[in-house]
């Protein structure tokens, strides 16, 4: 007969910090598979506070390129358009579209741009200046409706298209086109049920008012101009950025960062990196203490990307410490020491990994009367 151990409410709450009780999608047994591009978009939003909400929307637009990679490759081969062929090839590589998006938006180091060789100095040059034009008109964190499970964001005004000039209010300048598009598009797009783009009538009425009116006051051209002038002004950074772009793909195998070496020595880690933030905890939970220590020594603290992985490993170690202590004392802090002096492991012989010995199972049954449980307290006989 197995002894039953009752947890107190405090212990249950402490355990829920790592794995929420009753959540069918929580814990190490559940894995959520996501495309690398989606993981990149999520990772970029979580890691860099300098990226405005508009940039995340733009990177989500890049995600569409991954879906038409085959079509673009076909069109490129039929038409002889090398740009389309290469974009199609990039779309076919895991994380390729994410790296292309980072190059397009000049995202700073700490993302897959590091893995593909873009240096921190060049890739981070004027990163904040190339934020999407929406940053000037939309407050960060503005809620927008979720359509078909995809978070939508404010879309820039289509004001700079020469074929369809728009007025200052954001409407189509051509009166006939404006009238026809308003009468035609409104009932077919915004109508609920069958003809609505979202497919659900509730989405057409967003919970919070969107910043569409404020977008008109910040035309797209000004944002683009600002980005251009900021990029052009920093000529040195621009030159370094161009050099980094030219070697963006060519230096992939010579990235030299601790992350790349870690990936080479741990092929499975590529899967973890592609699903960073989602699958990292699940992947790390299957590693022994010795393997975690080996990973920490291999990664180092060279860049923000390595720091992120170190944080994930420290989080796993903290969870194990809490678990081993029976959640009687819960440590909620994660400490990563960036000043640790770690030697490059690929130049020094690696020590033999230590054998993991599980903690001894207590043989003695815990007396029931010593367990301060709710049920036990309820079973205490009442005085006559």
């Amino acid at each position: 007969m197995h002894p039953k151990i009752y947890l107190t409410r405090a212990q249950t709450r402490a355990l829920a910090i790592d794995y929420p009780i009753g959540d069918p999608t929580g814990g190490p047994a559940y894995r959520e598979m996501k495309a690398p591009v989606a993981a990149v978009a999520t990772m970029v939003a979580a890691s860099s506070s300098a990226i405005a909400a508009g940039s995340l929307a733009a990177m989500t637009v890049f995600q569409g390129i991954a879906f038409v990679g085959g079509a673009l490759s076909l069109v490129g081969s039929l038409t002889g358009n090398k740009t389309l062929s290469k974009i199609g090839m990039v779309a076919g590589i895991a994380g390729g579209v994410g790296a292309l998006a980072e190059s397009a938006f000049n995202v700073s180091a700490g993302t897959l741009g590091d893995v593909f060789g873009a240096t921190g100095e060049a890739a981070g040059a004027a990163a904040s200046s190339t934020a999407a034009p929406l940053a000037a008109s939309q407050a960060p964190g503005t809620l927008t409706p979720v359509v078909d499970g995809v978070q939508t964001f404010a879309i820039p005004e289509p004001s700079a298209i020469t074929s369809f000039p728009l007025d200052s209010a954001g409407g189509v300048a051509s009166t006939s086109l404006a009238a026809e598009s308003a009468s035609l598009a409104a009932p077919s797009i915004n109508a609920p049920a069958a003809t609505s783009l979202s497919g659900t009538s509730s989405v057409n009425a967003p919970a919070t008012p969107l910043a569409s009116e404020s977008l008109a006051s910040a035309p797209l051209s000004s944002g683009a101009t600002n980005a251009t002038s900021a990029t052009g002004g920093a000529s040195g950074a621009s030159g370094a950025t161009n050099a980094a772009d030219s070697s963006l793909w060519g230096s992939i195998k010579d990235a030299g960062s601790g992350v790349m070496e870690f990936v080479k020595k741990n092929p499975e880690a590529a899967k973890m990196l592609s699903g960073m933030g989602e699958g990292a905890a699940n992947w790390l939970s299957g590693k022994t203490d010795a393997e975690l220590a080996a990973m920490q020594s291999q990664i180092g603290f060279n860049d923000v990307r390595a720091m992120q992985i170190q944080e994930q490993i420290e989080n796993e170690k903290r969870r194990r410490a809490n678990l081993n202590s029976g959640y009687t004392q819960v440590d909620q802090t994660v400490r990563v020491n960036p000043n640790a002096n770690i030697q490059a492991p690929w130049n020094t012989p690696q020590p033999a990994p230590q054998q993991y010995t599980p903690p001894p199972v207590p043989q003695q049954e815990i007396p029931r009367q010593q367990i301060p449980g709710l049920i036990q307290a309820a079973m205490v006989p009442r005085p006559a």
Partner: protein, 166 residues
């Protein structure tokens, strides 16, 4: 400049070589976005081909510039108008795939109408212009995209992938 036989053959004006059905077949949308993709393409075709708006669209298409530029920018304008008219509920990942198909549909329609001859090469250039225009409106730098794509070396990537996952 002398070019190879294969490249010459690829760039010949063959309007029937690339059809919208071929583009749609090669587009792989995830299931959760397939419905939105179909609706956006349908709405775009309504804007471009309906009795009320097609003359206006054709008038825009007759402006100066190469057919590829007019086609690419025209479809980009239609897509951005759809996004605006949808009150920003249109999923951003659908914009480029739907626009690619709309470019093919518009080129096919122009060839069938006979008002203008759109070659396969023009379709490819129009798609490229469409992608760059849309990404530029979302804050990307087309110059950096072209630079990154032009310096793309598939051999280095293949070697790196083999090293990571043997």
């Amino acid at each position: 400049m002398a070019t190879g036989l294969i490249e010459n053959t690829m760039r010949q004006a063959d309007a029937g070589a690339l059809t919208p059905e071929m583009v749609r077949e090669k587009t792989q949308m995830p299931p959760e976005l397939q419905d939105a993709y179909d609706r956006v393409v349908l709405a775009g075709m309504k804007v471009m081909f309906s009795k009320e708006t097609r003359q206006i669209v054709l008038k825009e298409m007759k402006k100066k510039g190469s057919i590829a530029k007019r086609l690419g920018e025209g479809v980009a304008g239609v897509m951005l108008i759809l996004v605006k008219e949808s009150n920003n509920t249109l999923p951003p990942p659908v914009v480029i795939p739907a626009g690619i198909e709309l470019v093919a549909q518009a080129a096919d329609a122009l060839n069938k109408i006979g008002s203008e001859k759109v070659t396969t090469a023009d379709i490819g250039d129009a798609m490229e212009i469409f992608i760059m225009t849309v990404l530029e409106k979302f804050g990307a730098d087309p110059k950096r995209i072209r630079q990154a794509v032009s310096s793309f070396d598939n051999t280095a990537v293949k070697k790196a992938v083999q090293e990571v996952a043997p």
